[in-house]
């Protein structure tokens, strides 16, 4: 039984995953900044610290109220906001010391893919990770995920959140933009930037924000922003899929909850005879279960860390982590 602790940005989560890869408990609490304001790292970390105790307690309890003792403690070591990462790492170290159980550091992005793969039973996919922290197209080569394409500036999650704030829409931006987009129908011309397998979103954000300030129609703008941003990424995915010839396409991360993005990527996968595995919406956003799932796989492959070496790594690339448990069988 592996306990996973997530606290990389706005969410504190704790979850238990058993030895057969089943999610036993998954308890999360997310900090929501006021409308028009982004995540303040200190305020987010204060929220995480205030809920940590009760979240862990709930995650370690069965329905009838008895408590479960984990065999392994996994914590999200990075990437993320320093003050937030330190909360989860502190809880992880404390539990590991008190329960005398091994401590496993987990890469938050790798964990997004691990939980999506576990649920989909995917083996060796072309993986697409879209969130506030990542917008990457990855394939597993050798022992690591290799970045085949990615954003050259801001992530898709950043784009939608930052635009949402400009438009005074409630957080998370992706959900608000998607709701508005359903009312829009006219396509406004916005910058479409694909560079090989990479995308760049900052020009699109600037153009959308300046259109907004000229009192343009918000629904049409949200519709156009979504159509343009998603089509750019989908084009890069199609290109990567043709080049890597994978037979599975995995979609993970917070923005994977978007129905329109799922529809677009699903259509490309189908077109090239690949199966499509979007992560279920309830596990798309940051959660304890992803860390527990990845921590269990890591521990089985021999990953663990001593308390004195259990650092947090705010900047940590996907392609710097050994992931020997892929391809999965």
């Amino acid at each position: 039984m592996c306990l996973g602790i997530e606290s990389t940005a706005h969410t504190f989560g704790a979850s238990l995953v058993d030895d057969r890869d089943r999610i036993v408990t998954n308890v999360n609490s997310t900090y929501r900044p006021p409308v028009g304001v982004g995540i303040h790292p200190r305020k987010a970390s204060e929220h995480l610290a205030s809920v940590a105790d009760s979240i862990v307690k709930t995650a370690l309890s069965t329905k009838d109220g008895s408590s479960i003792g984990p065999d392994v403690i996994a914590y999200a070591a990075g990437p993320g906001l320093g003050p937030c990462l330190r909360i989860g790492a502190t809880v992880g170290r404390a539990l590991s010391t008190f329960l005398k159980k091994p401590l496993v550091p987990v890469h938050h992005g790798v964990a997004h893919l691990d939980i999506a793969m576990s649920i989909a039973k995917a083996r060796d996919p072309l993986a697409v990770l879209v969130s506030g922290g990542h917008t990457s197209i990855l394939v597993h080569v050798g022992k690591r995920w290799r970045v085949y394409g990615e954003t050259q500036d801001i992530t898709l999650g950043n784009l939608l959140d930052m635009f949402g704030r400009e438009a005074k829409l409630p957080s998370p931006g992706g959900l608000s933009v998607s709701r508005e987009a359903m009312k829009g129908e006219k396509l406004i011309k916005l910058p479409y930037t694909v560079k090989g397998n990479d995308v760049a979103y900052s020009g699109l954000l600037t153009a959308a924000a300046s259109y907004l300030r000229r009192q343009g129609n918000l629904a049409d703008l949200c519709y156009s922003l979504q159509e343009t941003a998603f089509a750019m990424l989908t084009e890069a995915i199609e290109r990567s899929l043709v080049q890597t010839r994978r037979s599975e396409v995995l979609l993970a991360g917070g923005v994977a909850a978007s129905p329109r993005l799922r529809e677009m990527i699903g259509s490309v996968a189908e077109d090239h005879g690949a199966s499509f595995h979007p992560v279920p919406v309830e596990y798309s956003g940051d959660c304890g279960a992803q860390i527990a799932c990845s921590g269990r796989l890591g521990f089985e492959s021999g990953v663990k860390v001593s308390i004195s070496e259990s650092f947090v790594i705010p900047r940590w690339r996907m392609d710097e982590v050994d992931v020997p448990w892929i391809p999965r069988n």
């Binding site: 922290g133 990542h134 290799r146 970045v147 560079k195 090989g196 677009m264 077109d271």
Partner: protein
Amino acid sequence: MDTSKLTSTPLHRGAEADLSLATIGPWRVVIKRRVKKEYRNPSLDEQIRHDRTSSEASIIHEARTAGARVPSIVGMDIENNAIIMTHVDGTVARERLDEMGISEARKFFRSLGEQIGLLHTGGIVHGDLTTSNVIVSPSGAPFIVDFGMARRSVETEDRGVDLHLLQRSIVASHSKDPSSMMNAMIRGYELSAGKKVASSTWRKAREIARRGRYFAIR
């Protein structure tokens, strides 16, 4: 030219276009037709396909004029978003490279670098330079194809993107000594673009690679 009336056989299905083979007079030609993408909004889709088709045809022609080994444009079918160009005989580098020995591969990358330098000094950047977009002729000479993302530019930034994309495709697809392959490529690039351009472009390419997320050192 209306390509829909030509007898052709399918050759390859790419990410954004279908390629087919046909014969016009003495030439074996390739028809590159940009197909409709269901995932894209129809007006955005039409605009992208039209813009890329016309820009690709004129850029290939310019690249040929600049002395690079690329196909020759035979004609265009704007209504069907199609280009007709001469067929390049050979194998896609992505596949051929795995069969090459180290010294043959180095020689190949040196010659490829020289071709890229010719494009860049001719004011053209490719925009999607991967080993999938290079054809190795039976004599071993590289032909650069697929100018769908190409643009006219003399900016170091855009030239750097080309080298960055090529490097990443080498690292991701060919694990055999990627850094020595890139070194050979740069030496070839110097031959046609000059030392000064080569060093600034390569510096920029490394900077672009570090722009990705979460690099500890920038």
